[in-house]
Amino acid sequence: MARNGLSVVRKTLQEYADRGIFRGFSERPGRSGKTEFTFLWLTEYPLHFVCDARNATVRFNDFLPAMPVKSAVYADLRKFLRERVEGDLPKHRMVAPGRAAVKFVNRHGSVSLVLTVYRNQYRYGVKAILNLVNEIFLLLQRSHTEYMWEHFNLPQE
């Protein structure tokens, strides 16, 4: 089952690369049976996507730097994620509780987004976490421009 999960994840990500959404798409074995995919997407910095099929999780590892747990920007992100699980949004913008669970992990200000896949729904999980990351960067560009200037080299102009 774990191997099947990885192949679904790999195939799903590869589709985005084939469509030109991801650039520089690559894969390498990670620790403890995990698999790490690296690609360029929303900024000029590579994203690291880790599939841990044994624990049924996919995650964007350390994709947001320098974000203390008590910062306003992190509070906004957590609010955003709550709305995607509990909020009153259209179905296609939500993470379906029966299909996946999602959370942030903040280690010393370095933030990862972790999604646990239920009932082997890896394709759904990959698409859900990608759409979440897209919206997270939109939120940062819209409401936390200084953070984006400082940590993602976005133009001040």
Binding site: R19, G20, R23, P90, R93, N131, T145, E146, W149
Partner: protein, 648 residues
């Protein structure tokens, strides 16, 4: 000439009158004798000559247009091409005399200003709100190089700008004989679509036609011609002395690329499968005047529309299908149809999600697929493609999608209300949210028809606010100044061009002819082209220029932490741009508290409406408004496409 006498205008508020200013200064000194000195100065001032508009400025409108017959100079021949091609306006400074004089003498509306760069920006802005071709001109050497930044901005915005300059003589090439020598064409390399130094007199008509063929076909961009004296001063006794002297039906075609029916069928299938389709209406929709075709298709199939272009209003913001003020809805789109998006974003720059599919409609096959991968490319002029899709598609409904957009629009309005609540809480200076909200109320929810006023959206930090509040209800109601090239300096130059377009009622501005316009800029932007207030006053262009004066460049918040650096981003505080305006023949208002803004706007609009006098409203803010932690909401971010967009 009493009409043009600046002192004939109504007296403005006593709080900012010169008399009161002098009196207050004297009282402040605490010396009775000083008051007497101030009064004496005032008396002396009243005896001095008043600002006065020369008679010739007014008389130009009724002057007889000379006959355009052989014998003609090379400049005359070129000017005749310009006239026959419908060149809509010329903005220039002295220099390139033979060409400029010939163009003006052929009855093409011509305007002089104070800086060639600002005049080139004026021409660019005129184009962006009319869709017509305009020209700018400067002398060889410095006059030409002064235009370069504006040409670059026009190139980035895909404006069909005709750039003209004189360039000495062929026989003086490679010398430093006399002055102002320079090779012009290499300088505009990469900033134009076509350029030519004219050196063969007999081909002057031919190269004029080259220019207009380029300007009127395909993706518009600037065309640069520089004239040697051998060409502009050449004398032709008859057309027989000219090569390639043909009517425009012989040297260019009005035919446009139409879509392949196979592509239209495929697009129709994709639209038919989509649950949340959206059209991004951009530059090409405007230049092909495709707004009716756009609306017909959108309404027939309930396709949402969001704008992103150097001008706004191709699809009205208050239409239920408009997503331009519904940024939260954009990531939901599952099919994106880019129509005339000449300036292409890369992946991640538009808000659409990773699963969105893309159709791109563009007249230029060489550009389709650049930056943003496509699922279908359609080579076509925009109107033709939209009409073909309309004919191919059955009527469709996407009610849930329309409801989602309406909800997102509502959330955006709630966000604006919160921004205004925060901004209005600052009482010691004028916050940008106050300017944006109250200007919006004045333009769209007061006594004016909401589609009436054309707005120049300039500035930097202030623009992040005003873009959110300004609305477009008809084509080219908003001129998006900083689009793509990001220049903030041209704003008052842009204002001149937009003002001329509206005063003359050119293109989509025709129904609003003669009405005042509003421009937004900052203190940084005003520093570059503020002297064009004089040009506005000279030609009686009724523009209200709102200057957001936060004592700094908008870049200060991001560079404030080091004292070795911070000062680079600062100006003297509380500068009086309103007094600069008064000194240049316009009206000035200095607004230091939030409640003063709206009355000042009312006064300026009254002056603009009744006497065609331009104004500057100097809104005193403070640089700390850009720091979110100290003065929330701080410098705002943006989402593209939509009302906040200016990168693409």
């Amino acid at each position: 000439m009493q009409d043009d006498d600046r002192d004939s205008r109504p007296k403005k508020s006593a709080s900012v009158s010169r008399r009161k200013f002098v009196r207050q200064a004297a009282v402040g000194a605490g010396v009775a004798a000083a008051f007497g000195k101030g009064a004496a100065l005032l008396a002396q001032d009243q005896e001095r000559p008043r600002i006065r508009i020369p008679d010739d400025v007014r008389l130009r409108e009724t002057a007889l247009i000379p006959a355009s017959d052989f014998p003609m100079t090379g400049a005359d021949v070129f000017a005749r091409v310009c006239r026959d091609e419908g060149l809509a306006a010329l903005f220039c400074c002295p220099g390139n005399y033979q060409v400029v004089n010939a163009i003006a003498d052929h009855g093409i509306p011509s305007y002089g200003g104070r800086h060639e760069g600002a005049m080139a920006s004026a021409a660019d802005a005129f184009i962006r709100v009319t869709g017509e071709i305009a020209a700018c001109s400067g002398t060889e050497g410095p006059g030409f190089t002064n235009m370069i930044s504006a040409v670059a901005a026009a190139n980035a915005a895909r404006s069909p700008l005709l750039v003209l300059a004189s360039n000495m003589s062929v026989r003086g090439d490679d010398t430093e004989s006399r002055i102002q020598r320079g090779y012009q064409q290499p300088t505009t390399e990469g900033l134009r679509k076509y350029g030519k130094r004219l050196i063969t007199a007999a081909r002057v008509h031919e190269y004029g036609t080259y220019a207009f063929r380029q300007l009127r076909a395909g993706i518009p961009r600037p065309v640069h011609l520089d004239f040697t004296t051998e060409v502009s001063g050449a004398r032709f006794e008859s057309p027989a002395e000219l090569e390639y002297y043909h009517d425009k039906t012989k040297y260019r075609t009005a035919s446009r690329p139409h879509p392949d029916p196979k592509d239209i069928r495929q697009a129709a299938e994709m639209i038919g499968r989509a649950r949340r389709p959206i059209i991004v209406a951009s530059t090409g929709v405007f230049y092909s005047r495709a707004w009716e075709a756009l609306r017909a298709l959108a309404e027939k199939c309930q396709i949402a529309v969001v704008e992103s272009a150097p001008m706004r209003g191709q699809f009205p913001d208050d239409h239920p299908l408009s997503a331009s003020t519904a940024p939260d809805a954009l990531p939901s789109a599952d099919l994106v149809i880019l129509v005339g998006q000449y300036c292409m974003p890369s992946v991640g720059e538009f808000a659409f999600g990773p699963d969105a599919r893309y159709i791109r409609i563009d007249p230029d096959p060489e550009d389709i697929g650049r930056n943003l991968p496509i699922d279908l490319g359609i080579v076509s002029e925009e109107t033709a493609a939209l009409e073909a899709l309309h004919a191919e598609m059955p009527a469709m409904r996407h009610d849930a999608w329309v409801a989602e957009i309406a909800a997102a629009r509502g959330r955006f309005q709630e966000e604006l209300a919160e921004l205004y609540r925060q901004g209005a809480s600052y009482r010691d200076a004028v916050h940008p949210a106050v300017i944006a909200k109250e200007l919006s109320d004045f333009l769209y929810r007061g006594n004016l028809p909401k589609e009436q006023t054309t707005v120049v959206q300039g500035g930097f930090g202030i623009a992040r606010y005003t873009r959110r509040w300004l609305r477009a209800y008809r084509p080219a109601q908003i001129m998006n100044g900083a689009y793509q090239y990001g220049a903030i300096g041209p704003d008052v130059g842009y204002t001149f061009g937009v003002g001329v377009a509206v005063q003359r009622g050119v293109g989509p501005q025709a129904p609003y002819r003669g009405h005042p316009i509003v421009a937004i800029t900052g203190d940084a932007g005003f520093g570059y082209t503020g002297f064009e207030i004089e040009s506005l006053a000279t030609y009686r262009i009724p523009a209200i220029v709102i200057v957001y004066n936060n004592n700094s460049w908008g870049t200060w918040p991001g560079n404030r932490r080091s004292k070795l650096v911070s000062h680079i981003h600062l100006f003297q505080e509380n500068l009086r741009y309103d007094k600069v305006a008064e000194a240049l023949g316009a009206h000035g208002e200095y607004v230091t508290r939030p409640e003063e803004f709206r009355p000042a706007l009312d006064r300026c609009y009254e002056l603009a409406s009744t006497e065609h006098i331009p104004s500057v409203i100097n809104c005193q803010a403070k640089k700390e408004f850009g720091i979110a932690r100290q003065h929330p909401p701080g410098f705002l971010g943006k989402v593209e496409p939509g009302c906040m967009a200016y990168y693409h």
